[in-house]
Symmetry: C4
Subunit: 176 residues, 4 copies
């Protein structure tokens, strides 16, 4: 009656998605990567993130996935989001080409703005691409209940994104 569960490299697709009138928003975690050390240990190489994806509505309950734009929340940005009060707002700026010759050509800004009555937030992504001469803007109104799902899921994911769950994979018989 016992079967085996393989901890593999198989990719998992289980985003939490919110579909609203003008756009949809989905969120899912990206796990960190580790390097194996000569000592046999493992050192984190790249921290994980929460990947947010926005894509526009093009009709009733129809959305255009090809027009999606992404924004990867860093650990500190996740910390900002999960500690947001019901009247608070925050905004993050990313340049996907930072430290390359295209620096400054694409600017992404994510804003989370509380409704005046504390009943939820507007989550908006703005992407200005000076190379392609495009300016995409997505606005997804998120209810308090939906934000509670995001906060709970992000709080769960954060230690995994930092790689701290790996510390716990230890034997009880460390000593003797």
């Amino acid at each position: 009656t016992a079967t085996s569960k393989f901890v593999t490299d198989a990719k998992i697709f289980a985003p939490y998605s919110i579909y609203k009138g003008k756009a949809a928003l989905s969120a899912g975690p990206l796990m960190p990567t580790f390097n194996k050390l000569e000592s046999g240990g493992f050192r984190i190489e790249r921290r994980g993130a929460i990947m947010l994806t926005f894509w526009p509505a093009i009709g009733e309950r129809k959305y255009d996935w090809d027009k999606r734009q992404k924004f990867a929340l860093s650990t500190t940005e996740i910390g900002s989001l999960i500690s947001l009060g019901s009247k608070d707002s925050c905004e993050f700026f990313h340049d996907p080409s930072m430290q390359s010759s295209n620096a400054g050509q694409v600017r992404k800004s994510l804003s989370i703005k509380a409704h005046a009555d504390g009943s939820g937030y507007f989550i908006s992504l703005n992407v200005v691409n000076n190379i392609q001469k495009t300016n995409d803007r997505f606005v997804v109104p998120v209810t308090t209940a939906e934000f509670a799902v995001l906060r709970t899921a992000f709080t769960f994911a954060l230690p995994h994104i930092l790689g701290w769950d790996q510390y716990a994979n230890q034997l009880p018989q460390n000593v003797n």
Copy 2:
């Protein structure tokens, strides 16, 4: 590079149950299902839920399980419940036959109403069945302590219901 963990495929029955004067209420999680992709990955097929079951008292400490009614809380409804303030209330409506020819014939509504003094909630389920000409109503008063158990258990279960715990089943040696 694949590491195995044995788990049982077997069904688990571990509901949290609250027995009160007129009815009993139990809550337990339903896990999501996944599809295996040709790429070897896994895509969530159906999200999980928290299944609430109500059944009536028919005497002192006697309850009639055959008269039970169910209500499956979605992820967003779970988010609403776990973020409920001590003076807040909420209500959800389900039509189990939605998008079938019987749409509208059975209406279920779950209401969570804070006591005026903040000492707990009334959790009520109303099921109107126009086909069977029945109208079932269950009311279970829940103390602050019992609600804290529900909130803590639901907060624990939510990432599993979303399937996000699967992201964490990864080896530390992702990168060479």
Copy 3:
């Protein structure tokens, strides 16, 4: 470099202990037990608990373990404790011989009383034993920081005590 971790029946001893002037207090979880069903599933048989143990000081940094008294917090009592505000108090009563011929002969009461200034709590256990004609009383002052450890550890343990972590031991490939 990979070694195996056995999930065994081996008992774990890792209580969180607080030593104060007149008594010491330790807390540790008791896991639930399950019955195997003919269907191959598992049904919870006995819920877990948090076992509190008090034992008296008999000198400077000396405590008498032989004079210990225990109090097993139920899931709902844990819910009460983890939702306690910084000015709140609560009290629980147990009769270890309930529903036996000795009912009422031993009465245990646990009280958690906030300091007036919100800087912590007094956790007290009183055990009146009419058979042995004894009356034991233990009082352990607990700081806000120590109570935060208890609250965090109890919140972590609660889903395990309910048996809900077992729901999560499932394969990602439920479907196909």
Copy 4:
């Protein structure tokens, strides 16, 4: 009846690091150690901790790891930190040579002081070494978002540091 899960014995390096103008701060968990008992059980031998490491800036985005100083937060100090209000402060004192002949020669103090406007904290480590005649002081301003990462990661780590996650490594078929 024993089910195996493979885990690596290997050391994990995944600190959460904050780089600021005058110093950097990193935090990572130390897991507890257990002794195997003759009965086959396991008793915790040494509780875990959160190791904080501070090291000074020596130029723009340049830090001197050789000048690092460490401070190991105990479980109760972690409890203090994760329950800190946005206007609160706390301070801890350690003597790494306590109960040795060098007692009192090295004094370490860690202070966490809220910004007056509630926008974050100063985390400072002061190490006075009377043997080496040195006095090192590190100050790292931490934003609310960064502190939320620390709080979330520490809350996740605390039950592991106590060894309570080991209680959960049990089979569902405890009984029968």
